[in-house]
């Protein structure tokens, strides 16, 4: 049996609004599990149910085999990093972090070393004696992070712990979180709506939308093999292909078919060729003209108007010679493995032909 299981969790607010409609997840020992989804999809609600701050309307939660819903929140030994920091303003940074060690009867000397280490890990060592009142959002967030991790809980819940940091610190700290988590081997549920962060840091990702689970899988599975249109669109970007005779021809050439499906393709799975590039085995060249060329440093986005729709093509490491002018004639290269088929409800269909 998995370490943490949530089975058929349903949470209603005020009797009518359903924030979670039948969510089931499992988290293994030491696993880094991420909840990813747009704002308001129920991530915090699920996290708070696990922590015990709101009781589920129905459903089951077990931790290490024990029914968690019977344990009062303060006895669950679940560390939580709050979305709104929840830093104690009347305690110094040090005392904030030491707060959870006191009820655990940790000796004073050990408290000192553990708190100092935790503060160093979140780069707050220099501010230990300050009061958090005048600190920036990012600094407060890191206090919350250190405070939750220092108690070595059975389970660590983090609700967007990096949302208020600048891009650079965010990347640094997410590596740090990941390293610490692997070191102390705490099962962790991490909430974010930043897909890149989720992909970078997770063992498995659970993509949610409107109180439901869309897909659970490793970062590779989520990104490379999205099971719903929502996942494909939320994690990465998607070109929709216009359903017309030209598309039928392309699919025919690629020997792909899925009756009644709508088709889409990721921009980075497309290639850009010269106007006269011909189709070869497994690759179809679709002729088109350049609409816009956007240079982004690491990559460039080229919008190409073709018979099967306006397609965005991502080019990596674009050199100066890769620059395209508007109205230039080009062709878009589509590999057989690139197009994805979805049914009317947004479910992924097998695209064998």
């Amino acid at each position: 049996m998995s370490y943490l299981t949530v089975t058929n969790a349903i949470k209603q607010f005020g009797g009518s609004f359903t924030a979670l409609s039948g969510v089931s997840i499992t988290v293994e020992r030491g696993e880094f599990f991420t909840l990813l989804g747009p704002s308001g999809c129920g991530k915090t609600t699920l996290l708070r149910s696990i922590a015990g701050f709101n009781d589920l309307t129905s459903g089951e939660i077990t931790l290490d085999g024990a029914n968690l819903r019977l344990v009062p929140p303060h006895k669950r030994d679940i560390g939580m990093v709050f979305q709104d920091y929840a830093v104690f303003p009347h305690l110094s940074v040090f005392d904030n972090v030491a707060f959870g060690l006191k009820p655990r009867k940790v000796p004073a000397a050990e408290i000192k070393t553990r708190v100092t280490e935790a503060l160093a890990a979140v780069r707050l060592g220099a501010l230990a004696d300050r009061l958090p009142a005048a600190m920036s959002g990012g600094q407060q967030q890191r206090i919350g992070l250190a405070r939750a991790m220092v108690i070595n809980p059975h389970l660590l819940l983090m609700d967007e712990p990096l949302s208020n940091l600048d891009a650079k610190l965010r990347v640094e700290l997410r590596e740090e979180i990941r390293d610490i988590q692997k070191q102390v081997d705490i099962a962790t549920i991490y909430v974010t709506h930043d897909q890149e962060e989720a992909l970078a840091i997770s063992d498995r990702i659970c993509v949610m939308s409107a109180g439901q689970i869309e897909q659970i899988g490793t970062p590779q599975q989520i990104y490379g093999n999205p099971q719903t249109r929502f996942v494909a669109e939320f994690v990465g970007t998607l070109n929709s292909l216009t359903d017309n005779d030209a598309l039928k021809a392309v699919l025919g050439q690629l020997r792909l078919s899925a009756p009644g499906a709508s088709w889409a393709v990721r921009p980075e799975r497309l290639g850009l060729g010269e106007a006269d590039a011909g189709s070869s085995d497994g690759v179809v060249a679709v002729p088109g003209i350049v609409g816009k060329y956007t240079y982004l440093g690491r990559e460039a986005h080229v919008l190409v108007k073709t018979a099967i729709g306006e397609l965005v093509v991502h080019l990596s490491n674009p050199g100066i010679e890769a620059t395209r002018q508007p109205d230039e004639k080009v062709s878009v290269l589509i590999e057989r493995s690139a197009p994805m088929a979805f049914d009317a409800a947004g479910k992924r269909l097998p695209a064998a032909g």
């Binding site: 922590a51 303060h74 929840a86």
Partner: protein, 546 residues
């Protein structure tokens, strides 16, 4: 969970408290207004009220002084607030202090000081007469309105100056950018922004003006209002007419209630949240404008504080019996020390007792209202509006009506005075606690719980330290109102339970202004200490006084 039981217990106790200390007494007022002297059910009291010119007149007069006081307070308060928050005024802090002085000054002393200056034998009036200027004495409607304007302007001033200094400057700059003239800007942008504060301050002035009993009593000279009529009916030596007094009380409650609802209605849409970043700057005025602004501010401030200043000066004057002699002495204070020690002691013990109760009960109920939101707590919050609009004289009469006979007889005890103060000031404490709690994110407690503290311990270790400064400040401000409470104590006191404000009232009626002034000064010092402590704990926040 034990916590659930604890808070359910608090909830039940709160309702019991409200029922026994509020609903039953007020209910019995309501009921006894429906019975005649012989105990038969009747609408006669109301018919009589609307038939007799004496009561008509009092009703009409109440509205006149209410609105007159309102207009005066609005004018003085907003002029002062505008000048202090928009222009550089030398000694702006001192001006605020003057306003606070006017606000916490003991009741009655205001009216009486004005009589000392401008009454029939008034000092200033006498001086002017010698110079050949004949001015009418301050009695009557005009006098009441002047005193009300000067007494109640601090409500408007403190509310509006707070709001004005929070108006986001960008808004006004944006309006300027759009080409609005300064006048248009003031009326189209700033006015709507401060309107909620203005109407809230005005409401306080209006309610206090309607409920005020001392000023019309001393200055009215035949200009009777509902509050004085109720007291006269109640206290008449011969033929005390309790049911008519309660009828008037009911009407007073109704009038106050209507204004509270009206104010809520007109300012319902205007809720603006101030912004703490882009605050308006104060302009340094030049030339005659500067002189005019300073003159206005200091004139209003000094006039408002005049009664206090007069009282302090007169408390040190030499007296012979009740008659003032030239020169200064401490006789008045000696008289307090030797004859009125028990009055001071009564005031202190009653107020401290009431404040301790208020703090303990108010904090618990505040937590309940802020943290356990449901229909029940919403009702509770609503029920606490009632004491808010209840004129003191009505609470006094209601308590007499309820606790004179029946299962609990409290008339003549200290308890009845303490309880009357307690129930009147409890809503403020509940509100203070609730609003400071609402500013603390509940996830703070949850964080402590997730770290292993039981909910109760989390509350104790996290929430309590965060709200304690607010509670202490609230307690101190309750103390100020408790120790200055006159109108309910006046109805409820007996010889043993006389308090300082009651004694001051009686001293003034006896013409012993020296002792009254000294006693007022003592009251003022006590209030001042409490205000100082409150400001120490919550930063200088004058609006909390309201």
């Amino acid at each position: 969970m034990p916590r659930f039981n604890f808070w359910t217990g608090v909830m039940v106790l709160t309702w019991l408290l409200l029922i026994s200390l509020l609903f039953v007494p007020v209910g019995s007022v309501l009921l006894s207004s429906l019975y005649d002297q012989a105990g038969n059910f009747t609408f006669a009291n109301y018919q009589k009220f609307f038939a007799e010119t004496r009561f008509h007149q009092a009703f009409f007069n109440t509205l006149v002084v209410g609105f007159g006081g309102l207009v005066g307070a609005l004018v003085l308060g907003s002029v002062m607030a505008f000048c202090v928050s928009r222009f550089e005024i030398r000694g702006g802090k001192f001006v605020s202090l003057l306003a606070i002085l006017a606000l916490v000054s003991p009741p009655f002393i205001g009216a009486y000081s004005w009589i000392v200056l401008f009454g029939a034998g008034g000092v200033v009036r006498g001086g002017l007469r010698e110079m050949g200027v004949n001015m009418p004495p301050i009695y009557g409607l005009g006098g009441i309105l002047i005193v009300f304007a000067l007494k109640f302007y601090p409500y408007v001033y403190l509310m509006v100056s707070g709001a004005l200094s929070n108006v986001n400057r960008s808004l006004e700059e944006a309006a300027e950018g759009l080409g609005l003239t300064p006048w248009q800007r003031t009326f189209k942008i700033s006015f709507p922004m401060v309107f909620p504060a203005l109407s809230a301050g005005g409401l306080l002035a209006l309610i206090h003006a309607i409920a005020d009993f001392g000023t019309p009593r001393l200055l009215g000279r035949g200009y009777n209002v509902l509050a004085t009529e109720a007291f006269t009916l109640y206290s008449a030596e011969v033929g005390s007419n309790m049911s008519m007094a309660t009828t008037i009380s009911v009407l007073l409650i109704v009038v106050s209630m209507i204004f509270v609802l009206l104010q809520r209605y007109v300012s319902r849409r205007n809720v603006y949240h101030g912004n703490m970043i882009n605050k308006p700057v104060r302009v340094r005025l030049k030339g005659w404008k500067n002189v005019a602004a300073h003159f206005a501010v200091y004139f209003i401030g000094l006039c408002g504080a005049m009664p206090v200043i007069v009282a302090i000066i007169y408390s040190f004057r030499k007296t012979n019996g009740p008659v003032f002699q030239p020169g200064f002495a401490l006789q008045s204070y000696e008289r307090i020390l030797f004859n009125l020690g028990d009055v001071v002691r009564n005031s202190l013990t009653f107020s401290v007792g009431a404040v301790v109760l208020i703090v303990l009960v108010g904090t618990l109920i505040g937590v309940l209202v802020a943290r356990r939101t449901n229909l029940n707590t919403a009702l509770l919050d609503g029920a606490f509006m009632i004491p808010y609009v209840m004129p003191g004289i009505v609470i006094g009469i209601a308590y007499i009506a309820a606790f004179n006979t029946g299962p609990v007889v409290l008339t003549g005890t200290a308890a009845i005075i303490v309880l009357s103060i307690f129930i009147r000031r409890l809503p403020y404490m509940v509100r203070t606690t609730a609003s400071s709690l609402r500013q603390i994110s509940p996830s703070m407690e949850e964080a402590a719980i997730s770290l292993g503290y039981s909910p109760f311990k989390a509350f104790l270790r996290i929430t309590v330290p965060l709200i304690v400064p607010g509670i202490i400040a609230g307690g101190m401000l309750s103390f100020v109102t408790a120790i200055n409470e006159l109108s309910s104590s006046l109805v409820l006191y007996v010889g043993r339970t006389m308090t300082m404000p009651v004694r001051i009232y009686l001293l003034i009626l006896d013409g012993d202004f020296g002792t009254a002034a000294a006693l007022s000064t003592v009251l003022l010092v006590l209030s001042g200490v409490a205000v100082y402590i409150a400001f120490r704990f919550m930063g200088r926040n004058e609006q909390a006084l309201l």
